[in-house]
């Protein structure tokens, strides 16, 4: 399809991004503020020969998405915090069986039912640590309608490349804001597809990784037959309770993300070159921060921003590097401090100041400007 321009909301841009990435299976359950994704998909999926399936709950949704992905179809679900809470056991299953899929979380106020129609960024740590066991996750944090499209495409690319579940973590404001969206011509999109095995089926080891730590994926209906299980398994896919099998598998699953993090981490450096104060932000608050930084610059304050377009894997080295360049770091996020603790861990001894806001309206530009001035005066 040639380039299209729309004036639309973030949720719909996300759905269109998924379709452009080649997603043809959506399993979900309606929830504010992600419902528009489901509604859009219910109309668009059949048009492109795909399936929109509305399940009885989010547990069925995510598990069906794993099943669909094993047939070779790019698959996704979209929900909000309460739905993610239900999905988490099977997020671990997707990690363990190395299943490419995308989970969109349009973050609303929490805990519990919280404020369904108000945004927050309270699920950052949930995405990283929600399922049990040691694992890594990839999470993208778009800040505009265009990025809802672009980063959903990227989420599929990363999930396919690394055979792993990927989160799109958008706060409600980004999900519901309306802006101009340019959907590129499909031939201008660079799309990834999981590696498929090429060996003779009799020699196929379904969980034997290549040098990039990712095993080629046999699919249901192909000539490769396999057993995939959430139990700790060896390269054949067979369950094992041996200590070395557990250590090797868990180490590889973690390294697969960590050692390839340079291909995953995506950051925007905004006015940082001569900055003495750095703001670290993501999603909607980063938009306020940009305005605040421009205003502060007019007043001669040397401030810039490191905007996280990905929060997981955490940009440890980049934050440490930034901390060595500036005198102060301000973390502005729409919660009581989640990325803040990660920044503190890697910025030390540079002081890190939290600008928290556990509520629906993000920090406003003038509030961030005041904070910058306060820090400047220290």
């Amino acid at each position: 399809m040639p380039e299209r321009v729309m004036f639309t909301m973030g949720d719909i841009a996300c759905a269109e991004g998924a379709l452009s990435a080649g997603a043809r299976y959506f399993g979900g359950y309606p929830i504010t503020p992600a419902t528009e994704i489901a509604e859009w998909m219910s109309k668009r999926m059949p048009e492109v020969g795909g399936a929109y399936v509305q399940y009885e709950d989010e547990i069925a949704s995510i598990t069906s998405v794993i099943g669909a992905s094993w047939t070779g179809v790019k698959s996704m679900t979209a929900t909000s915090g309460p739905g993610v809470s239900l999905m988490l056991e099977s997020v671990g299953l997707a990690v363990m069986t190395e299943t490419p899929l995308v989970i969109v979380n349009i973050m609303r106020g929490g805990p519990s039912t919280g404020q369904p129609t108000r945004g927050q960024q309270g699920d950052i740590m949930q995405a990283k640590w929600g399922s049990h066991g040691d694992y890594q996750i990839i999470a993208l944090t778009p800040a505009s309608v265009q990025e809802m499209f672009d980063q959903t495409v990227q989420a599929f690319n990363l999930s396919e490349k690394f055979r792993t579940p990927v989160f799109v973590l958008a706060d409600e404001t980004v999900g519901h804001m309306r802006e101009r969206l340019v959907i590129p011509d499909e031939k201008d999109l660079k799309l990834e597809y999981r590696k498929l095995p090429t060996v003779d089926p009799s020699e196929y080891l379904p969980f034997k990784a290549d040098d990039d730590l990712v095993p080629p994926m046999g699919l249901f209906g192909s000539k490769y037959q396999f057993y995939a299980t959430g139990l700790t398994h060896d390269e054949r896919g067979y369950p094992s309770d041996k200590e070395n099998v557990q250590i090797e598998l868990v180490t590889r699953l973690n390294d697969k993300i960590l050692k390839n993090s340079d291909q995953i981490i995506d950051l925007e450096r905004f006015m940082l070159d001569d900055a003495k104060i750095a703001v670290i932000s993501y999603g909607t608050p980063s938009r306020s921060a940009k305005k605040a930084i421009r205003d502060a610059r007019e007043e001669g304050i040397k401030v810039g921003m490191l905007r996280l377009k990905t929060v997981w894997p955490f940009p440890e080295e980049q934050v440490a590097q930034l901390a060595s360049e500036v005198d102060h770091i301000i973390v502005a996020e729409q919660n009581l401090g989640q990325v803040y603790y990660m920044v503190k861990a890697y910025a030390s001894p540079t002081p890190v100041h939290l600008m928290a806001k556990p509520a629906g309206m993000p920090q406003l530009p003038h509030e961030i400007l005041d904070k910058i001035k306060e820090i400047k005066s220290i």
């Binding site: 299976y25 547990i59 099943g67 094993w70 069986t97 249901f220 037959q225 057993y227 959430g230």
Partner: protein
Amino acid sequence: MTESTPVLKHPMAKYIRSDRQPFIYCSGCSIGIVTGMIARAIDNLDLDITKTVIVSGIGCTGRTSGYFKTGTYHTTHGRAIAFAEGVKIANPELEVIVVSGDGDMAAIGGNHLIHACRRNIDMTVICINNFTYGMTGGQFGPTTEHERYSQTSPAPVGNIEHPFNLVKLAASSGAIFVARWTAVQARRATKSIEKGIQKEGFSFIEVIGACPTEYGRMNRFGDGVTMHKHLLEVAEIQNGLPPHEAELDYENRIVCGEFVNIEKPEYTAVLREMHKKLKE
């Protein structure tokens, strides 16, 4: 003895991952018999194993999928049917078979079971009902009879709760083919599994099995042989009986047969129709 006796290969061995033997099942357990039924159904229908997917949840029965040479997957506890729905909808060419335990399908996965019946996605679901949570050591579950003993319903009171009748549950939820057999009625059960596979829609086959190690021991039902003999004695074949009359009273009467065999538009067929219409 110098001469070596030729080892006869089990006729169904070709479908089983011999490098995963022995099975984890205890001696006297019914799951091996049902594994054989599924293999025979695949063989009788001459299914292409590269186009067949067998899915299980968690439990002793949950280990069944992993012994087959088809495409197989071992999901989280209770989610086998939900996983299978994704597989079938994403690729309707595949023959999808789910085999799992009564706890997996009627307790933690009960919601998926009833909604899958209602949705009518083409798959064959085989539930081995051994009246207990075998894998975790024999606690009561959703099919444990009232007052029976288990690790969590000890003597003298026994189980305070009342069991589901899975045939009634599946039938009233909308399954298009519903049957019940005991593990000793292997040929009849295999035929029903074959019918389930051939039918276009959601088929549910309950196989009553024995868990002599736990449920049997705690309720003094005897060893595996005794329990299977008992199943033969109390099984009462009543093909075509209305499903709401398909009673299950372990001690005296287990009504067996095919109770539902109807037609209803199948989900993936309707979806394909929708795709065609939208293209026109």
